[in-house]
Symmetry: C2
Subunit: 422 residues, 2 copies
């Protein structure tokens, strides 16, 4: 294994913002990215003259398929008025945003640039669900997996049932993750889903009554989540509320070399660790209940940062499905294998718990515009670490935080560690 090296030059996040996530028929990825760029600009405490930006990295999974628009990096650069800056699209499936962030870190560490904009964007809802499913399937090992009938809900369902078999988890344990993340999203004005699952259920009942139909007999969240009409099975044991939605959205963060960060803010967030690893596709892996690339990436990031999982106050992890959050929380080292689902049940990962996970609502409820998700994770930790997360702000300081971004079923994983020093 190659040894992990520390960065020769420190990198700080001095601005971060995201578009509203959701389904926006009137917006394309340019519109979404402009929105994110404006939000990022507003967050730069001492103001941002955009002309100081020297280079751009754009995380995007497949505007090729979603919008029939490739070569999106210079197009988004043009949209935010940053021509002729060099612009590169980075793709690693659902980890595209995290991989773009990592390239931005390296671009500054290389000495080539002092100020780099990292963006992510995906416009997904122009396609219907079947088309989106097929487009996302391209992130798998297509000739071996998709030809055999797999889709992504199927992959994660296989991981969930293997986990249940191995560790005695019940499918309802996963609902704790969904309930928590929807609750967090209900306090995030940028999230796709603005209501808790309780409110969702009440809305469904009210709608039925309004239409003169018999009201569903759901009295609690648990009735609702166990009911095939309320929460239909997508791929057993995963139900609708175990799955992240199809989303339009964009995010942007501004990275600067540490020696220049005071030009932008007195409250920078330092990126002190970065790790990335690759793996075979799921069909070729010896086990399904962990993601080896996540362990490697997390260990690289921890080693570079000089911290351990214990030091992480909050984390945004890749919960494309509820089971993915459980597995992530174990891969990173927060909990022992087979213990992650209990932590969710016991409230340890809740906003007021000992190890809050996905305070933003996560991919699950904030939304998952694929190439933007890894960048939006950085937006959330930036806000939480600076005490600017509004209603969902965790209590106490957040000196160290982590983001964890997975591509496909773990063929790519990217982990970053962040530090606040003042």
């Amino acid at each position: 294994m190659p040894k992990t090296k520390s960065l020769p030059r420190g990198v700080a996040v001095v601005g971060a913002g995201m578009s509203k996530f959701g389904a926006f028929p009137e917006k394309n990825s340019r519109d979404l990215f402009v929105e994110a760029f404006k939000e990022m600009t507003k967050s730069v405490d001492k103001g941002l003259d955009p002309s100081v930006v020297e280079s751009l990295y754009i995380g995007n999974f497949s505007s090729d398929q979603f919008e029939h628009q490739a070569h999106i990096a210079p197009i988004l650069t043009d949209a935010v008025g940053l021509l002729p800056r060099p612009a590169v699209r980075v793709e690693d499936a659902c980890a595209s945003g995290g991989a773009a962030l990592r390239q931005g870190v390296m671009a500054i560490a290389s000495g080539m640039y002092d100020v780099v904009l990292v963006g992510g964007a995906e416009k997904m809802t122009a396609l219907n669900t079947a088309q989106v499913t097929e487009a996302l399937a391209a992130a798998a090992d297509v000739p071996f997996e998709i030809s055999a009938g797999f889709t992504f809900p199927g992959f994660y369902a296989a991981m969930a049932s293997a986990y249940m078999h191995r560790y005695g988890m019940k499918s309802e344990h996963l609902m704790n993750v969904a309930i928590k993340n929807h609750d967090n999203a209900s306090h995030n004005p940028y999230a796709q889903f603005s209501v808790t699952i309780q409110k969702w259920m009440e809305g469904r009942i009210a709608a039925a009554i309004k239409k003169g139909k018999p009201a569903p007999t759901w009295f609690t969240i648990w009735d609702f989540l166990h009911d095939e009409a309320g929460n239909p099975t997508v791929a057993w044991p995963l139900r609708l509320f175990d799955c992240s939605p199809v989303t339009d959205g964009a995010a942007a963060v501004l990275l600067v070399a540490e020696e220049r960060m005071r030009e932008f803010t007195d409250h920078p967030i330092h990126i002190i660790g970065s790790g990335q690893a690759s793996d075979s596709a799921l069909h070729d892996r010896p086990e399904l209940t962990a993601i080896p690339a996540a362990k490697i990436a997390a260990n690289q990031a921890f080693e570079m940062a000089g911290v351990t999982a214990k030091d992480i106050r909050i984390a945004e992890v890749h919960d494309c499905f509820t089971i993915a959050e459980v597995i992530a929380s174990e891969d990173i080292g927060f909990f022992a294998p087979g213990e992650g689902f209990k932590a969710a049940e016991d409230g340890v990962t809740a906003r007021n718990g000992a190890k809050p996970i996905n305070t933003s609502g996560g991919l699950k409820a904030k939304g998952h515009p694929v190439g933007a998700s890894g960048v939006a994770q950085a937006v959330e930790v930036f806000k939480q670490m600076r005490g600017q997360a509004g209603e969902r702000q965790v209590t106490g300081d957040v000196p160290v935080a982590l983001t964890h971004n997975v591509g496909a079923t773990g063929s790519t994983c990217v982990v970053h560690v962040y530090e606040r020093r003042n």
Copy 2:
């Protein structure tokens, strides 16, 4: 404009290889990349233990569209046995390979890695010509340009006719570029087209005679190239032989930090300059007879390298169409605006000329597997600079060389400068 900075850490190319370029129904991008990786490995003078490779960058335009396979970086990493190394796909349309090379340079300069593999791959021929044309169109500004009926031959035809109008060039001047590049390719065993245009014509005549059909009345290359049957118009003034082909292919180069290059070879090629710039799409530019991003990228690379256009002994430039080579030769600064086509006519850019361009055969005749092309350019200069280009080796030393890789109509351009020191 941001100032150009020199690299804090030197980077050398110590190995380079490519697959055979062509149309290979039996090969996918994995097969092609494995072929390129093996050729690269063979070129490493002191042998390569693949486990020393620490990270991969893959240039790929749209395996999403061509093979319905995204997330290709970890898949190709798996194919060459380099898991769990981090792997990133870089996309900037037809400049994806050059952009990947640049990321590899930065990854080493950042101190994160000492040994980086840069690859490029594209499998295009599974689609028919109409489908390829549509897939490539995604590299344009789709809502503004493709909706208006443009395709890439049309864009470059517009540039060619503007150039003809402005500088008095005739369409036959472009044929000099095609003749030269096919001649170069006829000496390149990896090229898609292994024959000169003269041989091509003779083959067409012989085939007609063999079939008992009346033989075409072509006596010279010029008869052939002016004839609609021999060389049909694609988009006036561009004819078939003005256009690069649809190609399957891959390429790979091994980059190492200078302090470790002697572990691999005593004949390294140093990358001493790297530049990249973005621009609006063609419809939004004030002029059509030059590519501004190419000028900016070349100037950045020259400034970093401390050389000028005069110092460049050979160049591989982005001749997706013959007119593109003419314009490139002016944008880089080899010739004044309006003089590039004369240089091709006068043999200045021939293999034995004062400023050889595209000794490999270029995209035009070596082939243009989009995401691989920028990496294959580096393969050619590596071979020429080390005196290993066989029949097409230029005479005399090649102390300094350049590669020039364009995305779309110039929304991206990436330029690198290489030096041989011993």
